[in-house]
Symmetry: C4
Subunit: 249 residues, 4 copies
């Protein structure tokens, strides 16, 4: 481990909690003006400031991690999504998915297997993603030409029906921004569906194999017991136990 790598690790450890707090502050500052249209201008300005501070902090974090990276070009390639999230205002709420990282903190003290962690990430990610998408689509659609998503209840209902690929069509976005959010949700929903299925398939195949193994184990036990009995029989009749056991084996 080089000196630089150690400093990068120290930075990540040190910045973890402040960035999480800023992400939550960003969420609140983003949600308040969206949920309540009639807030006072001063509060609205405060929210704007909080959003910009949080954005600046994340940009600084990106630059610091890039500078401290061992191989900068490779780091930039594998963290392209981070740059996109910082550059595009529309994707900014996605930063909140960092909250899912909280699970990591919880996880250190728990002893959950890989599948358990996948399930925890799925549930956490799905709840957060549907909530964020509802906020964002409400923001985008409310002032559209023919809006049919106008309350947060409608927006969340829409985001859940979209993520699960049910898609009733009682609510749907009509603006370009709203549709982009919808496409993101659909991709998230397909991944969600796929992950649920994959987890179930992995669990089931393990259980089936365990059952088969249990059968084989039981059989092995039976055979071993049988062999011991034969060996005992042999010994009693004055035979050669060693060779007999060799033959059975």
């Amino acid at each position: 481990m080089t000196e630089r790598a150690r400093r990068a690790a120290r930075w990540e450890r040190w910045s973890e909690w402040p960035l999480l707090v800023l992400a939550v502050a960003f969420l609140v500052a983003y949600a308040v003006p969206v949920l309540d249209v009639g807030i006072s201008p001063s509060l609205r300005r405060t929210c704007d400031v909080v959003q910009w501070v949080a954005w600046a902090a994340f940009a600084v974090d990106y630059v610091v991690r890039l500078v401290l990276a061992e191989h900068r070009a490779r780091w930039a390639a594998t963290h392209a999504l981070d740059l996109v999230v910082i550059a595009l205002p529309l994707l900014r709420p996605l930063r909140l998915l960092r909250l899912v990282a909280l699970l990591n903190v919880v996880n250190r003290h728990a002893t959950i297997g890989l599948r358990g962690r996948v399930v925890a990430y799925l549930v956490g990610g799905a709840v957060l993603l549907s909530f964020l998408a509802a906020l964002a689509v409400l923001d985008a659609e409310r002032h559209g030409a023919e809006p049919n998503i106008q309350t947060f209840g409608d927006a969340w209902w829409w985001s859940i029906t979209t993520m699960t690929t049910v898609g009733y069509g009682d609510r749907f976005p009509t603006t370009g921004d709203g549709r982009l959010i919808g496409v993101g949700l659909m991709i998230g929903g397909i991944t969600l569906l796929g992950s649920v299925t994959a987890t179930l398939a992995s669990w089931l195949s393990d259980r089936v194999r365990a059952e088969a193994d249990a059968d084989v184990d039981a059989l092995t036990q039976e055979i071993r017991a049988l062999r011991l009995e034969i060996a005992a029989l042999n010994e009693r009749s004055g035979g050669e136990p060693d060779q007999a056991s060799h033959g059975v084996r």
Copy 2:
């Protein structure tokens, strides 16, 4: 096994059937006023009483099992869903999913493999869940502002199109309660879809492996036959059969 664990097991064995009967009674007492709006006040009151009695019995069962648990904190954590179901009136019908436990009773006398049981639970759970959701959504939607689910037929049709994630949008809930039920159904539907796929994948991978194994087995048979023929040849030509077979092995 401690004395307490034995008492817990005895309680579960003893309470299994009464609780199932109460769950069915609850279902009937819940369904009758929902399906027939014009029932007499006295029958309606009887239904209310039955629902409360069933609810109390389930609460008692929860407390007894908690008291008899070896590690109470851990038991409470792993049975959090039971508490939620008892505490939230909306989720109460979910208790009927206990009926699926009937399959366990059937299962003891049958010899179905793990996959067979998964399929049985899937079918039983899907039918029961769609029926319960139809009842609950009809109850919630009928008095909404602009209801479009007004008969039990519509409600069941809606619950099935939701569970399968088809979602035509000819029927959809408009109240908060109705939408909550919808979200539950979608999650159930995704799990259903995932389980069907996982079961099929597990079955197919077993079949493919069995086919491959059959090929290997056939090959092994061929080689064994060949070896015996060579050994016979060797013996006839005055060679040393023991070493030859050792070499082939």
Copy 3:
């Protein structure tokens, strides 16, 4: 193989083609009055007769196979679906799924693996099921109170959007019969989706394993070559090749 089992096998071989021909005749006699409302009464009567004859033939086939079965109770249990299809007029068109059995005939002369056969059954079954459901739903919906499925084009479009769980909601059944057909289609669609996924998963896992095995094989080859070189070296230097090879092993 008992005498009865041989007779059962002979019956199945003998009845295979006549039943397939009758199934196709049934399809035509079922489709013609559905597709063309204005046919002459005599043609309509002919179609009715053909349908009844086909139905009678399938009932006779069921009885004969039941009588010739080794264990009648078990046969009836495993062929419960056959009885349901014969008893319920609504499900009668399902008999056409027998046409998929044609694939069996084709298959005998081909050398397709298990996955290939699964794909062939999927494609055949999906096309046939969507076509049959379109016919049946057109028959059921045309005379409904507020029909929105009135041409065969609309019906087929509806059945495909339902099977794939897309469910636009531009066309949907409003009668009880039509909705039952829809539920059947949705279940078929979920199974279809699941089978496609399972087949892809099985194929992918085989490919990944083959890639890993290829790596191991290459490594094994390398080691074997190395070992031979060492043995040659050993021999040249007057060492004991036998023990050396034993040590490497």
Copy 4:
């Protein structure tokens, strides 16, 4: 490798880039008149010419590859789709899926595993397919009787909601051609969903196995260390280390 096979390989290598360029030219010549209805007649004629030239080049490529094939009948059978794409004007844009082959070129210089390549093909194929279907459906629907897909934005939104099987139903095709394109998209979407799930399942099962293997490896290490300690003990006590280790093994 025969002389003919070598010439076939040379043809494929030689024709790869020209055909890709022609495919892109075809795409542009196809897209321009669809996206902009009011282009000048001369530009429209140029687009027509480019489309015909591209079509002719693909037909020639098909014939050449058929002539150079080792077993022509088998080649025609395995490349039936190529012939269908050339013969049916509606499917012609599908030829653009060849652009996905670009990934192959990229791939040669990269070191991505099988799963990485599957993901790359999925993403590339999904973007291209949804874009092509949007173009084609706009072309087909714009002049329908009651069109509700009239801008490219609407068309792409529709194609994405269809591929992900969400299907709101705010936009849907009403003409025969448009519906055919929709069916193709749905099949593509199901395969897409299935591939995502299969990839996730394969990844997860590998990770679970790796975790289990790590456990086994740790155990093996433990046992080996234990054995060494026992051997050391044995040696110190004047025992026979060789036999002891043999017995443990």
